[in-house]
Every structure is written in structure tokens, then in C-alpha cells.
């Protein structure tokens, strides 16, 4: 059954939904990257919660005009308008008052959502309150979706994605170096608003599939996950889009394969699984890699400090230093150096002297700034340069590592 779903064998609607979810995921991943890099990821939370009063009002207006309150296009329009208002409120609070953006976001999302809930209770009491459709917009639901709705979502996903791809250049510029972008004549405020507008578009399109509470996840988790795999901006954008697309497609497929698997949560949890995998196992930035690197770094520091203490005939205070020296065969358990330890210590001390010479000679200025206490001097100087330096120092020749 799951295989059927993944290979798009579950019928026309399910296929459309899966494709729509994939397109939505890609747009969300790409747009979210720009929010994330601007350190404004949670603005999307305000946007998404602020859709609710719009949804409620749109329903009431459509019923009042004698139409079907559940018309998806109408609800999307209403949600877009109120989300835009919410966004303007966040902006105006942060610009005009001393409050920080996080407070503005929290205030807008809770009061707009509160207003939305009030409107929902109004709808509940309306005679034509066929309000079941609105419940679905909180958490997303694709069960019993109309063909027309699926088509709107797929089209919306495709249009959003096209817009994101079209605008990615200025958005990249502003996300990475707003100062430079401004100097280059880019209107950063306008680009920021465009980015927000795209996030809003993603939210509105995702309302029906993922629901307004969880759509934030699609804007935040893929970029955060992508960041683990690369330090380069274009790649973060690409990987994030791919991760979002995979989550959307696989999540929608899993959800369609069995009952009681709500689409929104499944898509989010698929995305989260990818995140957890990356958090631990990504090379370089992953937790495991970082832990191993820290351990080896700590060892290097303690060994070096221990050797210098030996060379300068100072006591070694830290038990860890002694343990590490002992394990390397450089000292005994009581801290007394072995022959090998004494030799390595002499080398360490001589290297320190060499660095001192490097610091004082203007010719080595660039190299001097590389000093951090650990760097092997042979890695930055040639044998000839070392010989010159040893000439300055004098003393016994031929100290070998």
C-alpha cells in the first residue's frame, strides 16, 4: 500500500495531493532558507497563526453572500489578507516601539489566533455553520478532498515555486550580506517583504494539506537540516528545497496509504526524522563529528601544556594532563617525564622560542598571526626558514621532533 502511494498508484486525487505537497515542500524549503538566514524563522509562526481570523471572516462573508463557505479559493484569499495584516502588525511593532521582534511575533500570533477562535465559535452557531471544513485547516486534512481543491493546491505549489526560483538572487544577496546589498542598490526592505510574501504564499497553499499550526515546520526544519550538510549558501538553498520536497511527497504518500494518518503531522515528522539524522550524523557539523573533534582537540591542548610544563620544570596541576601524557608514554603516572617526554618537551620549548622569533620579525608578519599555541611550526615554515630562525636563537642544533 505504501509502495503504491509512493509510486502514485492511489488514484487521481492522492497523486495530485502528493505532487502538490512535494511542490509545496520545495517552495517552503527554499523560502524558509532565506527566513532562517535572516534569523527570522519564527516570523512564519506569526504569519501562519494570523491566517485564522481571515479564514473565519471569509467563511462568514461567503455564506452571507449566499455561497458555499468552504470554497477553498475564498478561504485562501481571506487567510492571505489577514496574514498580511498580521505581518504588518509585527513590522509596525518592531519599528515603532522598543519591543523586540520575538515579543511582536508572540503578541500577533496569539491575539490574531484568539480572534480567529472567536470567529470560529460564531460560525459554529450560524445556521449554515457547516464548519467541519474549517477544522481541517488547523491541522491539515486531505481525506475526502475535492478534485478542485487538489488542483488548486498543486497549481499554488507550482506558482509559489516558480516565484521563489525567480526571486532567489536578490533574496540570497540580502540574506547573506544586507550591508553589501544595500550598497549595491538593492532595496533590502522590499526584498524582505517579498520573502515574507512568499512565506505567506507557502502558508496559504499549505493550509489545506498541512494545516496552519504545522506549516511553520516546513519553513523551518528543512533549512536548519540543510545547514548541517554545507557551509555554502546556494547549497543550503538547494538541499533545503530537496529536503522539503521529499518530506512533502513521502509524508503525503504515507498519509494516503492508511487511515488515521493525518497528512500534516506525517509530513512534519518525516521532515523531523531527516533533521535528527542530520543532527547526529552529518559530517563536520554533526554532533558525532563535533564530539570526536573536541576530544582530540582537548587532548592536543593538554599534551602541549604538559610538555611545556615539563620543559620549564614546572609542576603539572591537572590530573587529566598527566593521564594523557602517561598514555602517550611521555610521563609516568606520578608526572615524572620519561626520556621520550623530555625530548618532546625540549622540542615544544624550542618551537615556542622559534615562534617568539617569528613574532618579532616583520617578514613573518602573516605567519605570526597564525599562532594559537597548538599549530606545528613546521606546517607554516620551510626547513630553510626554520634554520634561519634557529640561527637567531642559537644553542644546541639538531632538535628533532
Amino acid at each position: 500500500m505504501l509502495l503504491d502511494a509512493l509510486t502514485l498508484q492511489l488514484g487521481y486525487n492522492a497523486t495530485l495531493v502528493a505532487i502538490g505537497a512535494a511542490l509545496l515542500g520545495i517552495s517552503a524549503g527554499v523560502t524558509g532558507t532565506f527566513l532562517f538566514l535572516r534569523k527570522r524563522a519564527l516570523v512564519s509562526d506569526a504569519i501562519s497563526h494570523a491566517t485564522l481570523p481571515g479564514v473565519g471572516l471569509a467563511f462568514i462573508v461567503m455564506v452571507w453572500l449566499g455561497g458555499d463557505g468552504r470554497n477553498l479559493a475564498g478561504l485562501m484569499l481571506g487567510s492571505a489578507v489577514s496574514a498580511w495584516l498580521g505581518l504588518l502588525c509585527v513590522q509596525s511593532i518592531t519599528r515603532r516601539t522598543r519591543l523586540a521582534e520575538d515579543a511582536a511575533i508572540g503578541a500577533v500570533l496569539s491575539s490574531f489566533f484568539g480572534l480567529g477562535v472567536v470567529l470560529l465559535t460564531v460560525i459554529q452557531t450560524m445556521s449554515s455553520g457547516r464548519q467541519a471544513g474549517l477544522d481541517g485547516l488547523l491541522l491539515g486534512s486531505t481525506a475526502g478532498m475535492l478534485w478542485q481543491d487538489a488542483a488548486i493546491i498543486a497549481t499554488g505549489g507550482a506558482v509559489t515555486l516558480a516565484l521563489v526560483l525567480l526571486l532567489r538572487r536578490p533574496m540570497t544577496l540580502v540574506a547573506f550580506d544586507p550591508e553589501y546589498a544595500r550598497a549595491a542598490g538593492v532595496n533590502t526592505d522590499r526584498v524582505d517583504m517579498l520573502t515574507m510574501a512568499l512565506a505567506l504564499a507557502v502558508t496559504v497553499v499549505g493550509l489545506k494539506i498541512v494545516g496552519l499550526i504545522l506549516i511553520v515546520a516546513l519553513l523551518i526544519i528543512p533549512p536548519v537540516t540543510a545547514r548541517f550538510w554545507t557551509d555554502r549558501s546556494e547549497r543550503v538553498v538547494a538541499i533545503s528545497g530537496a529536503l522539503g520536497g521529499i518530506s512533502g511527497f513521502v509524508g503525503a504518500a504515507i498519509s494516503a496509504s492508511a487511515p488515521a494518518l493525518p497528512t500534516g503531522p506525517i509530513i512534519v515528522l518525516t521532515c523531523f526524522a531527516l533533521f535528527v539524522f542530520s543532527l547526529f550524523l552529518a559530517p563536520d557539523r554533526g554532533v558525532l563529528a563535533a564530539y570526536l573533534r573536541h576530544r582530540s582537540f582537548q587532548k592536543k591542548v593538554h599534551l602541549r601544556q604538559g610538555l611545556l610544563a615539563i620543559a620549564e620544570h614546572q609542576p603539572i596541576y591537572e590530573p587529566l594532563t598527566i593521564r594523557l601524557l602517561a598514555r602517550e608514554g611521555l610521563a609516568r603516572r606520578d608526572g615524572v617525564p620519561t626520556a621520550a617526554g623530555t625530548a618532546r618537551a625540549a622540542k615544544a620549548l624550542r618551537d615556542e622560542r622559534r615562534w617568539q622569533v617569528v613574532h618579532t620579525q616583520p617578514t613573518y608578519e602573516a605567519i605570526s598571526s597564525l599562532y594559537d599555541g597548538l599549530r606545528e611550526i613546521e606546517s607554516v615554515l620551510t626547513a630553510d626558514q626554520l634554520a634561519d630562525i634557529d640561527e637567531v636563537i642559537g644553542g644546541p642544533k639538531g632538535v628533532t621532533p
Binding site: 593538554h302 601544556q305 610544563a309
Partner: protein, 269 residues
Amino acid sequence: MTHLELATDHGAVVQLQALDACPLAIRGLTVSYGEKPAVFSIDATVEQGSMTAIIGPNGAGKSTMLKAALGVIKPLAGTVTVYGKPLDTQRHRIAYVPQRASIDWDFPTRVIDVVLMGLYRDLGLLGRIGRKERDLAADCLDRVGMHDFADRQIGQLSGGQQQRVFLARALAQQADLYLLDEPFAGVDAATEKAIIDVLKTLKAQGKTVVAVHHDLSTVTEYFDRVFLINVRKVAEGPVENTFTSENLQQAYGGRLATTQIDDLSLTAI
């Protein structure tokens, strides 16, 4: 970092006794941000009653060293003793002036309230702020020439005034050892004068002062000891024989032109 650890090492016991009266002793301090040491294997001994400047180029680990000495940053290795005892037992004897830039100056509080924060260790959680405490805080503000600003919101002060308020808060701590992080950074001339006067008064009272300092031209005028650092310790000692062109060259490398260094060390002699 505890006493116990030190005492188990035979070599260290002797050393410790020699340091007993020393306000601040740092041994083998290494601090790293990520995989690059910011300070590496530093030993420092601050002398009782001295005024010590910590100097070195940008990114040399000056502030890091001070913060690690206070336990504000966790070091990778090393021990810190204050008056011969572990840091945590001696906190009441230390006053600290952090960098002005690290603070949210929009915080809703008045100048006098900031100074009263310096009395936290005396007041504890619920001790009442009475007449005595208010008088002390007012007196501390007076000593830095900020008496008239007591009821101002801190965000309304100029940079120099903010720095003076921080110094007043440190004075309110009534400590023996004063640690200041770049107290003269971005302040006006009047403030610089006011601060140095207060610090010199403290020294005259037998207190010990350590300051991270970045203006080489005032070192000889303001301080009697220097600690030169560039990731590792370059030198420490009295200004006369430590603030020399060789040591400066050693600490600043090519980043300081030779002529500048000659000028500076000439004023030192």
C-alpha cells in the same frame, strides 16, 4: 580547579603558599571557542595593591582571560585562585565591570537601581534596602560624578556616563580586587579622567586593580604593572622593565610599526 586537586600535587603545595596573599593567581589557563584556543596556557600573578593593565592586540584573548578568571567562561584547562583560595569562596572580594557593549541598555531600570545591584551579595535574596544602602549607593555615584543622574533611566545616558555607573556599581561591591573589562573603550575624556581618578584612589586605599586596556599611549601614565598577552603570555611585570619595545613587538608582531613602539617605550623610560 579545587584546592584539593592542587594539594595532591607535591610540587604545587610550595607554589601555593608562595601565592597565598596574591589577589589573583592563574595557572595553565586555556580557553577555546570552538577548535582554536583564544588564550593558551596562561600563568599570571597579580600583585597586592597593584594596578595592572592587560594589553595585547585585538583578538589576543584579553577579555577572555579576564572572564575565565571570573568563571564567566568555562576554561578548557587551568586553575584560578583568589587570595590563595578557590574563586567561589572569594567572590565577595571581587568587583567586576563588564564591557559596556555586552548589555541591553534598554532594560527598564534607573541608575540608582543599577548601583544597588552591586550590594546583592550583602543583601541576599530578600534583605531590605534601607537608608544605609541608599546612602552608600548615592555615595558611590558621587565618587564617579553621577550623583545628579540617580533617577535617570540607564538608556538615556551617554556611553561615558554608562561606564561611570558601572564603576559606581563595582564600588558599591566594596571589594578588594577590581576587574575591569575595557573601562575606557568609547568614553569621553572627562569620563576617562574620572575613572582613572577613582581607580587611583582605590589603589591608594590598598585595593588591587586589573583592567583590560587597549590604549598603549596611556599605559605608563595609568598603570604600574602590565601583562602582555597574545594568545600566550608574552611578559608580565612592572611597567618600567616590561613595557619595552621588544615585548611589544613580541605581542603585537608586525601589527604595530616599529616607530610607534619606539615612541611608546621611550615614554616608558
